[in-house]
Symmetry: C2
């Protein structure tokens, strides 16, 4: 399981490149424009960094997933089960015994990514003997901070990393640096306009957009940029830091 | 400002290597065994990855810092001011006009690292015209998660990243995944023994040690490992994740 960074092929680490060069099969799940772009990125990374080694790139359709389910836990559970069954079948069919397979994870495998849980499930099913190794990658959170030239934390203070869903009812009361990921429908109208926001989309990629300022002043512009960029790309992935009292 | 990862020279990204190969001067502050080891790591990374380019490695003594000050804010403030003055003097003396200088940051520049704030201070003083670029690196938090093969978050749930100082009075009540960094004197006796801990020291390096389990069962062993490793290396840097209800 190889973290490949956030869309900039130069975010790839030497450790990831070395691992890629041991691979027999690269597995990628795709569906829709977002997934197609990310599969293309994975192909480009393999083509750029795997040298003098023959490998196969196996692509399959990602199971359908409701992004705004009424039953969040149950829907995620079913989606993980479907992905585990699909990966298990792909590995069984495509990977030779003692072969090395890779799943290329966008960003870092430890941060809001389901691939580790899915591989755990395959191991728990016990039908395929796997030896799993995880290689970390640059996450969009780090790319956000680097592009804005900021530390995520204030001096000695905590960082709260959360999701759009979790802050729908408001921010945690005692956090002063809050990173928000996976916010499909950001709305800022329920938040304090005096917060500072450091926002970014397509972080690390050639299409990166970043903007920062007082939330009340820039929320409208972020909304416009999002709408316009989503229409152009067919998808959007953004991340932002909210800070109290900057 | 180049994030170089956590001690594994293979955590370096292609982006960092490309930046290293534009550098005229690498600045490093050292003092004591810990700093000496980290300066040696920086030298090794430069020697390994800078090719066909002449650069200088400028090392200076880091200002003294009280790690357990009575006045934390004031002490940090004074230490940042001293480091800013030192870096400013080094840059003015050592870097030619239009030259490219690098500061190699252990881990990622956005996470509990003072270098960005220090460079901001130098810019604010206005004596040296700087154009600053930040390159993200793999952090010890990501190396911890990779070695334990875990996601930092539970499905859809937040992550709280904090310091040993912040949890001295107990954990935040509503966080279920808490990453603790910079804990010079970890004591676990005030914490719920039913927490699960995923602990690691010297993460990413050849000396990496990791251990996980129910806190009440493994806290003693972690203490022994820490004491023994600190005596052997002369310093220790560890990071851990505490999880409720695993």
């Amino acid at each position: 399981m190889i973290g490949i960074g956030t869309g900039n092929p130069e975010h790839v680490t030497i450790q990831a490149i070395r691992a890629l060069n041991t691979v027999d099969v690269v597995f990628a799940l795709g569906k829709g424009q977002e997934k197609a772009d990310l599969v293309a990125l994975r192909r480009a990374i393999c083509e750029r960094y795997i040298e003098g080694r023959s490998y196969r790139f196996v692509e399959a359709q990602d199971p359908e997933r409701d992004r705004d389910p009424a039953d969040y836990g149950g829907t995620v559970e079913a989606w993980h089960a479907a992905r585990a069954a699909l990966y298990e079948a792909l590995i069984a069919a495509e990977l030779p015994e003692e072969g090395v397979g890779a799943i290329l994870v966008w960003g870092d495998p430890s941060l809001y990514d389901s691939t580790l849980r899915i591989v755990d499930r395959i191991e728990a099913r016990g039908r395929l003997p796997l030896a799993v190794r995880v290689i970390p990658g640059i996450s969009s959170v780090q790319a956000l901070a680097a592009s804005h030239r900021i530390a995520l934390n204030r001096i000695g203070a905590p960082i709260h990393i959360t999701t759009g869903r979790q802050i729908a009812g408001g921010l945690p009361p005692d956090a002063d640096s809050i990173v928000v990921m996976l916010d499909g429908h950001p709305r800022f109208d329920h938040l304090d306009p005096d917060l500072t926001i450091y926002w970014g989309a397509y972080l690390g990629s050639a299409d990166e957009i970043v903007l920062s300022g007082r939330l009340g002043d820039v929320a409208g512009e972020i909304g416009r940029l999002r709408t316009e960029a989503r229409a152009r790309h067919g998808w959007i992935m953004d991340t932002y830091l909210l800070r109290r009292g900057d």
